[in-house]
Amino acid sequence: MSDALDIDEAVFDVVDRIPPGRVSSYGAVGRLIGIGPRRVARALSSGGGAVPWHRVVRADGSAADPVRVRQLELLAGEGVPIRNGRVDMSAVGWPD
């Protein structure tokens, strides 16, 4: 297995641990495994379909454009507080 796939797997493992109703950021997930936010976003956009990718947003609680509508729908369905298109990260940010 290549290093790139190892990193992708590490991202998926962390994202899989985010409970329903909680939301993390690309940067926060990256900090847990020692990579930057864009690397996390790339792993999730290329192969995050089997993990709750929708529970990861930008550091300001906003959703990336290509998936914005669907992502906010999925999060609203889990009871996540959303205001003006942004998740209230102080209320539901993960990890604590």
Binding site: S25, G27, G36, R38, R58, A59, D60, G61
Partner: protein, 192 residues
């Protein structure tokens, strides 16, 4: 004069960061020591933006701007991997500005108490102009997001003549009919 809601200011800042991040990501390994601005390498320029970003959380927490809190040398600011160094600092700055009441606070800049909305506007204008500097220095993409350029021009025109943050030259004369990017760059002493 155009006014922006706190949510709009936050979104513009996030986009200005992302636009700069794209251009940091595009820097080739052999370009870091190239000149970006007179006396400043590409690495120095990115390190300057890292330093600005590092200051956002403490300033928004009400701490005063004081020397010595963060490293000042370019290699210390950038760490082993400049892209990750920038991304990490930028992400923490974005989190801090996204806190619930962040944009109704007052920050203690070295020039005196300043509304956080003025602070985020300055940071946004700074990111837009330096994205152009970085792209120009590295043969990167100097086409900038038009909405960001227009907003940065509004922000820049509110700045006091003598209050423009570092790495900028005195304004150049430019026609009001010139395109927004040309006017923005002229405000910061740059010729498109």
């Amino acid at each position: 004069m155009a006014d922006f809601s706190p949510d709009e200011l936050l979104e513009l800042f996030q986009r200005a960061q992302a636009q700069f991040t794209d251009r940091v990501d595009a820097v080739a390994p052999d370009q870091w020591e190239d000149e970006a601005l007179p006396g400043w390498t590409v690495a120095d320029l990115v390190a300057h933006l890292v330093s600005e970003a590092l200051w956002v959380p403490p300033l928004l927490a009400g701490e005063p701007a004081a020397e010595g809190r963060f490293p000042e040398g370019t290699s210390d600011l950038l760490g082993d991997d400049p892209f990750t160094g920038w991304e990490t600092a930028a992400d923490n700055a974005l989190s801090a500005f996204a806190e619930d009441d962040a944009l109704i606070r007052t920050v203690r800049l070295s020039r005196g108490p300043t509304p956080a909305t003025d602070y985020i506007e300055e940071m946004t204008a700074d990111l837009v102009v330096h994205a152009w500097d970085l792209a120009r220095a590295t043969d990167g993409d100097t086409e900038l997001d038009g909405e960001l350029v227009t907003a940065a021009l509004v922000f820049a025109e509110r700045l006091p003549e003598d209050g423009v943050p570092g790495l900028f030259d005195p304004p150049l004369d430019v026609s009001l009919a010139a395109p927004p990017l040309v006017r923005l760059l002229a405000r910061f002493g740059r010729k498109a």
